[in-house]
């Protein structure tokens, strides 16, 4: 492959480099240089911040579990079962990826809030209260992270060579065995990548959560919400907590490197 040279390549590279510096390198450097490193241990040890961190881990892992449990059947049906309206269903599933999270939060609130379409009956018949609880935070996180798992796994399922499954079946394997012993192992990479993406998205979720679950310490105030709150009280806390989330994101990206970065 020949390397493009000349004024066009130089100009494009200059614009790209400038964008990278302005939008990624400088903001990240600012976080690192402004961070209160000397009191980092104290800030991270504060009960309020530890609570937010623990809640974030809990909520994002629950969202991951739900995304996998609900997302795999969806991905499998979309990839394998032809039915009328499949394209519409696929578009609906990916809607939360493009809809502004705050819109998702409002939608969840008017659906499952105390006066919501479904929430009022949940409240009246079963005394179930969803809005502004930890469950609401999990639902909001699942809402935004589910499509990441579905899209990744569905693409992999479509790419599986069906002849191996057919071969297993002609050798007498039950559908369950084929799924477990042939299909799942062949999409292991996509399952891991989809899980990592879904988890990272759940961990960073803010807009739907603050709208549907509010920002209550110990109950719904996950790391992103705690950062938003810290901006009102102590900016140094906000910077340090931001760096923690940044570190997690970089780790997720690094764990996916041979999948995406390795291809280049």
């Amino acid at each position: 492959m020949s390397r493009p040279r000349g004024p066009t390549a130089t100009a494009l590279a200059a614009v790209g480099g400038l964008a990278l510096a302005l939008l990624v390198v400088i903001p990240v450097l600012a976080l690192i240089t402004r961070a209160p490193w000397s009191s980092a241990a104290d800030i991270l040890g504060e009960p309020a911040n530890r609570t937010a961190l623990r809640l974030s881990v809990q909520v994002s892992l629950w969202a991951l579990v739900l995304s996998v449990a609900l997302g795999f059947p969806i991905a499998w049906v979309l990839a394998r079962v032809p039915f009328p309206g499949r394209r519409v269903v696929r578009a609906l599933i990916t809607l939360p990826m493009v809809v502004p999270p705050v819109v998702g939060g409002v939608a969840l609130l008017v659906a499952f809030g105390r006066r919501g379409l479904v929430g009022q009956w949940l409240n009246r018949w079963f005394d179930i209260q969803l809005a502004y609880t930890t469950t609401a935070a999990v639902l909001a996180a699942t809402f935004v992270s589910l499509p990441f798992f579905v899209v990744t796994v569905e693409a992999a399922l479509r790419g599986v060579d069906r002849r191996y499954e057919d071969a297993a079946r002609t050798l007498g394997a039950s559908p369950g065995t084929v799924l477990r012993r042939v299909t799942l192992p062949s999409i292991r990479g996509a399952l891991a990548a989809g899980s990592a993406l879904a988890w990272a998205r759940a961990l960073g979720e803010f807009g739907a959560t603050i709208t549907f679950a509010g920002s209550f310490a110990g109950r719904t105030q996950t790391m992103p919400l705690a950062i938003n709150k810290a901006l009102d009280t102590d900016v140094r806390d906000a910077i340090l907590l931001s760096l923690v989330l940044l570190g997690v994101s970089v780790t997720v990206l690094a764990s996916l490197r041979d999948r995406w970065l390795g291809a280049a």
Partner: protein
């Protein structure tokens, strides 16, 4: 290679569950060590309070917990308007302390207040500027100029409503000033130097570093009244009623006074 991706996920799940277990144990230990006072009150009281009450209520909660060993006060702070919406939409809470009557009335009108509300503190507005007052601001008139970057609460937030009243008393148009979500947000903007001036409560100026406060002219003074009430859906009404009474009692009143609040 694929195994490596799943290992960290599993490790995280295990760590998270282990961490949750620890937290529960310490919480249980706390209750046993402190529950030695003779008192039939126990459980958690979720208190939703105006952002301007943050420091005072944290101190009052400690004082109350010292007196009632079995009770755990869990305060959450935000703009009264946002808390009122959360309560109406079903946020589980025991007591609401608002920075104005209007937001408590919203909750009352929704049929969600139990018993009488009671005013437990007052506050007055103050102009807040960065330490040393670099812009030489000394009245509301100085805030309406185009060259002053001003920070105010949104007009639905009590501090924004009160600020609008002050401008009205001064015969001035309320200047546009990028609505902050709560009073602590205004304070932070001035502390960070992102705003040249803001309007907050005298209690915020007292509690903050790196800022100076400027009194409003006597004919422009606006007094804020703080009502509190036990909520109809309180999960721990006995302890909430006791906390409401405690707010009006001598110990809490002197804490409020220490933080610069006026007494009703």
């Amino acid at each position: 290679m694929h195994r490596h991706r799943l290992a960290p996920v599993l490790a995280t799940v295990v760590l998270a569950l282990a961490a949750c277990g620890d937290e529960d144990k310490t919480a249980a230990a706390d209750t046993t060590t402190t529950a030695d006072s003779v008192d039939d009150l126990d459980g958690t009281v979720t208190v939703l309070a105006a952002a301007s009450l943050t420091d005072a209520f944290e101190a009052i909660a400690k004082a109350f917990e010292a007196e009632h060993g079995g009770v755990d006060i869990e305060p959450s702070f935000d703009a009264s308007s946002k808390l009122a919406t959360a309560i109406i939409e079903g946020a589980p809470a025991d007591l609401f302390a608002s920075a104005d009557e209007a937001n408590l009335t919203k909750v009352l009108d929704a049929g969600l207040v139990a018993g009488e509300s009671s005013i437990f503190a007052t506050n007055v507005l103050k102009i807040v500027v960065p330490a040393g007052n670099p812009m030489g601001i000394d009245s509301l008139d100085d805030l309406v100029g185009a060259d002053v970057e001003l920070s105010l609460c949104g007009d639905e937030v009590p501090c924004g409503t009160y600020a609008a009243q002050a401008f009205e008393k001064a015969g001035l148009e309320v200047p546009a000033a990028g609505d902050q979500e709560n009073v602590k947000g205004v304070l932070t903007q001035v502390q960070l130097g992102e705003a040249d001036a803001g309007i907050v409560y005298v209690t915020d100026v007292l509690a903050a570093e790196d800022v100076d406060g400027i009194d409003l002219a006597t004919d422009q003074l606006v007094q804020a009244a703080y009502p509190a009430a036990v909520l109809a859906d309180a999960s721990n009404p006995e302890a909430a009623v006791a906390f409401l009474a405690f707010l009006r009692a001598e110990e809490a009143q002197s804490i409020l006074e220490d933080f610069g609040f006026g007494l009703p």
